[in-house]
Symmetry: C2
Subunit: 349 residues, 2 copies
């Protein structure tokens, strides 16, 4: 009533099964049976128990039950993504959540920030809480530290980036293929001097995209020597600055491939600032919101984060359901979406 009521912390202790049993005038095991929907309880007893539980606002303690339960399932999943704040990660997260919610499973989410130390910490935090399975985006060079956990039967599925030093499932985008597609698209519009703006070299997908990009140019016999290939751009500002330098330098690129969503946004800023958005072609990897409303629209190689997340979650649940077929690497294709910026032809100037 008064604003004090909320603050009388630790007032009533939380009711336990024992108290429900007492109120209902039955044994504690009977309460357990009712709460868990086990058979062989008369309707009258069931009702008495339910009434008592309602009256006390009883909430079973999942973890206490787990301790004794034979399956030892916490109905909890650990999810590690780039950052819960990034739209790509958000879509992955949402798909995982939906698949999990269907099964009454709750999801712990953590942000990686491409920091190996954060990864170890997050995984340890998940394991201490006894998650039933892990869906991980990794920042470590090597995940052998997870081997013992895998041996214990905990399903671990990597998402977005492939694992290394460990044999387990992975669900990833076709990074090299998508990057190659972007390069070929720009080549087809006459460009040869294409700048590559990439994320940290330590990130596996960044290396894959770079490889796909360079391989495609190489196949087209474009000399790679003096190509502007810039890596380790980890945020919008860095990408913007890098492209500004290229645009202001001698022999600026006629086209740009930005290999990640934040980099694309940085590149867009740089192009606008120099008024070059209508003569410098741009293809981005990963879609960005509103890209279709810019002028010109931003051509992108779109990933399908919802699929990545959904498939990864389904894989975890299959493993939990006993499927122990050999581990698989599932590749989700990318989609080139042409909106204008990627179709700007090489200026005849």
């Amino acid at each position: 009533m008064t604003s004090l009521s909320a603050q009388e912390a630790g007032n009533r202790p939380r009711p336990t099964m024992r108290q429900v049993a007492e109120l209902a005038g039955v044994g504690i095991k009977t309460v357990s049976r009712v709460i868990n929907g086990e058979p062989n309880v008369t309707p009258e007893t069931t009702q008495r128990v339910l009434d008592a539980a309602r009256a006390l606002d009883y909430q079973p303690d999942l973890h206490a039950g787990n301790l004794r339960r034979t399956d030892r399932r916490t109905r909890t999943l650990g999810l590690l993504v780039g950052s819960v704040d990034n739209p790509f990660s958000g879509a992955v997260h949402r798909a995982v959540e939906d698949a999990a919610a269907e099964r009454g499973v709750a999801v712990f989410a953590s942000s990686l920030d491409d920091d190996p130390e954060r990864e170890r910490q997050a995984v340890a935090a998940f394991l201490r809480r006894r998650v039933d399975g892990l869906i991980l985006t990794t920042a470590t060079a090597n995940q052998t530290y997870l081997e013992p956990e895998l041996q214990r039967g905990t399903p671990i599925v990597f998402v977005d980036r492939e694992p290394s030093g460990i044999e387990t499932d992975a669900v990833v985008s076709d990074n090299a293929g998508g990057a190659a597609r972007a390069a070929e698209h720009l080549l087809a519009h006459g460009h040869q001097r294409i700048a590559y703006l990439g994320d940290l070299h330590s990130i596996q997908t960044a290396r894959e995209r770079r490889r796909g990009f360079l391989d495609a140019l190489d196949r087209a016999r474009v000399p790679l020597d003096d190509l502007p290939v810039i890596e380790d751009l980890h945020d919008q500002a860095a990408a913007r600055d890098a492209l500004l330098r290229l645009l202001d330098g001698p022999n600026p690129p006629t086209a740009v491939f930005s290999a990640q969503n934040l980099i694309t946004i940085g590149a867009l800023h740089a192009l606008r600032e120099r008024g070059r958005q209508r003569d410098t072609a741009l293809v981005g990897f990963d879609d960005v919101e509103l890209a279709d409303l810019l002028e010109p629209g931003v051509t992108v190689v779109a990933q399908h984060p919802e699929d990545l997340g959904r498939i990864a979650a389904e894989r975890v649940f299959e493993r939990l359901d006993g499927n122990n077929s050999p581990s698989q690497r599932i590749v989700v294709g990318t989609t080139l979406i042409m909106r204008g910026s990627g179709e700007i032809p090489l200026a005849s100037a």
Copy 2:
């Protein structure tokens, strides 16, 4: 080694303190002391225990410990947001995660989808897992169902939307104020016939924004009777369709206030489709990515979701630390960001 290794599920059982104790040749309580950093263990014993723990890849079971521990803290928080794949929610989530991670607290995140039933389910799932505190965006008309939990001392902080029927902390944006600011801004540029495009009337913030908007117009003595006020637009497509109808109808609005980020995007689409983006003014509530690169740039009343999340989390931790001052309603201001679309003057046509 072979791909089978990962599949021999349930191989080795997970090691317990008992096994660490056995391997180290000490009592189980001594292991507990070492793991928890309690004093009065000799350095040699400590080392033996740590070695044994390492050798077995021991991970303490946080929940088992909790069962016995006097503070009963799971070091876990439940967070309910609109949708983990909405940028606004993502920013709130990230801020909460950062504040929590500092304290070794893990975060369960769930999406609400403005569905009261999902809210009950998510909250129940959190409570069965004994989270230490709740940070909630609500979709129910009334949250008295949380009263017993509040009485037990669980900190509950509402974020983004205010609670009703319950006395507890809330951290919200200045919705009415921000909407009024948007209206005044459009009025200042000569507009009177301003369309309001709003979210579900059942959402408290949507009602607040509508109220702020209408009050501002009323103060300016704009007749509200035949103003195009459209509510219950819950996604981009609905917003686009609604605005298209207005633009195509008789007496179309000269300015638009879109009261939520997805609605703003839908409105942008509609304006482009009719080629009206340069003569119809637009102010959106909540910022959207790339809004600055559109032509014209999108003027918005930006919220500060990071602040909402951070403050809400801090409030929870203060409560957990024993602060039991009266519950507070903390209002975070909004910021008008002028980028062009909101400064389009009334056409002299």
